[in-house]
């Protein structure tokens, strides 16, 4: 038994849920400046729906209990309804992350009963949102869809991408969410991935901005709903519950989805651990080559666990930050590790 006991068997602070995150397509009606998957109107890459369905079934068999569909714009993926029905049939909770512009009443009706939480991207005030999305109609079109969505009874919320420049807009986002009946505001730090590498290289929030975001989450949460969540790990969490981050206790024959989360299916068919864009040497493989259940059985977790331990040691050390984005830090360690192996 680890010093931290048996409470945490999951790599990553995901609340103990085994999550399958699926990016079935990189096609999108927008080309957002911060898009980590480099999606856009002229990007056609996608995974056939039958393949995604099989991945969902396999993931459920591996212990995953949540399906999160992102993109690209999931509403442009023709097989979205099929995939969601598969997941619900397998007993999974489902979430879809969308820019909200295409949420017509017909699409809302189609999603009703298939989606447990609909997450809509919202990057701040209408002006900031439109600027980040590269479309002056991005906010008005999305906002115009919300009254029907709220009336439909589908639970929805907003995902706010925190940058180095926009924590002061979080209060506006929370008030807007409250006004339109959203149940959730999730604050997710910008990742230097995809288009953000070129467009927003200096905008990844540092520890000061993360701290202010945490203060704002605490402050604005006192005003009553919506539920607020910030995707950062505190130093206290890292020190108090290392098993939660390191999968110290998983049994050799434990199903993968019960201790490694999220599993991420990218639009090229590759399944990677933890976060989109994870270096390919750590990937489980491609579902175009073999089913997920086979990839999981073949996969050697030791390189990833080594990376997780290195990351934890760095962050939990005397010079570690008070708050951090765990997944981004693991990704950085993995890339440095891959680079050092390549150089050697």
């Amino acid at each position: 038994m680890s010093p931290a006991g048996t409470a945490g068997r999951v790599v990553g602070p995901t609340g103990g849920h085994g999550i399958l995150q699926v990016h079935p397509t990189r096609r999108c009606n927008l080309r957002c400046r911060h898009c980590y998957s480099s999606s856009g109107p002229d990007v056609a890459q996608s995974v056939p729906v039958d393949v995604v369905r099989q991945v969902v079934d396999d993931a459920a068999g591996l212990g995953c209990t949540v399906l999160g569909v992102s993109g690209g714009e999931p509403l442009l993926y023709p097989g979205l309804g099929t995939v969601l029905r598969s997941a619900r049939g397998a007993g999974m909770t489902t979430t879809v992350t969308t820019n909200g512009m295409l949420l017509t009443p017909r699409r809302v009706d189609e999603l009703a009963g298939q989606v447990d939480v609909l997450a809509i991207s919202l990057d701040g005030s209408p002006e900031s949102h439109a600027a980040m999305r590269g479309d002056p109609r991005a906010f008005s079109r999305m906002a115009g869809r919300l009254s029907y969505l709220a009336a439909s009874g589908t639970t929805f919320g907003f995902v706010f991408t925190l940058t180095q420049r926009n924590v002061h807009e979080l209060d506006w986002v929370v008030r807007f969410a409250r006004e339109v009946g959203a149940g959730l505001v999730q604050v997710h730090p910008l990742e230097a991935e995809g288009y953000a590498v070129d467009n927003l290289a200096d905008d990844v929030p540092d520890v000061v901005e993360l701290a202010f975001a945490a203060v704002e989450v605490l402050r604005t949460a006192d005003g009553g709903g919506p539920y607020l969540q910030i995707d950062v790990a505190s130093r206290h969490d890292l020190l108090a519950d290392p098993a939660r981050f390191l999968a110290l206790e998983h049994a050799p024959d434990a199903p993968l989805g019960t201790w490694l989360t999220p599993l991420v299916l990218e639009a090229d068919g590759t399944v990677v651990p933890l976060t989109y864009g994870f270096p390919r040497p750590f990937a489980l493989g491609s579902v175009h080559d073999a089913p997920l259940r086979t990839l999981a059985a073949r996969w050697d977790p030791d390189p990833l666990l080594s990376v997780a331990r290195r990351t934890h040691a760095r962050l939990a050390g005397p010079q570690g930050p008070a708050l951090t984005n765990w997944y981004t830090e693991v990704l950085a360690t993995a890339r440095a590790r891959r680079l050092s192996l390549t150089v050697a």
């Binding site: 002061h168 000061v208 202010f212 605490l218 402050r219």
Partner: protein, 105 residues
């Protein structure tokens, strides 16, 4: 370009944001498993001054806690006196009492 937090501080000052007891309590809890010896909060109708003290074990934890608090609270920009003081206990010092004050008494 300006940090978002700089704009936020301006918004707080202009909007009259002052300390809320629950906020500070949660901030301290989020900082670590600290044993809080005492704390006093003043201000009517809403608190705007906090004084608290708590003990931590060892130089390493002391430095970490002070750094964390400074990072989280030090930039609140309330425009009044405030600060963190550290008192070593024991020879050699193995316990430190940290006093935190935000706002003016």
């Amino acid at each position: 370009m300006e940090r978002g937090s700089a704009r936020l501080l301006d918004d707080w000052k202009n909007g009259g944001f002052v300390l809320e007891e629950r906020l500070i309590e949660r901030l301290l809890k989020s900082t670590g498993s600290l044993v809080i010896d005492s704390w006093y909060i003043k201000g009517q109708p809403r608190p705007d001054w906090l004084h608290t003290s708590f003990d931590v074990d060892g130089v390493e934890q002391c430095g970490t806690v002070v750094k964390d608090i400074a990072a989280t609270l030090g930039g609140l920009g309330l425009g009044r006196a405030g600060g963190i003081r550290v008192f070593p206990k024991g020879i050699p010092a193995d316990v430190f009492t940290i006093e935190l004050q935000v706002g003016a008494p």
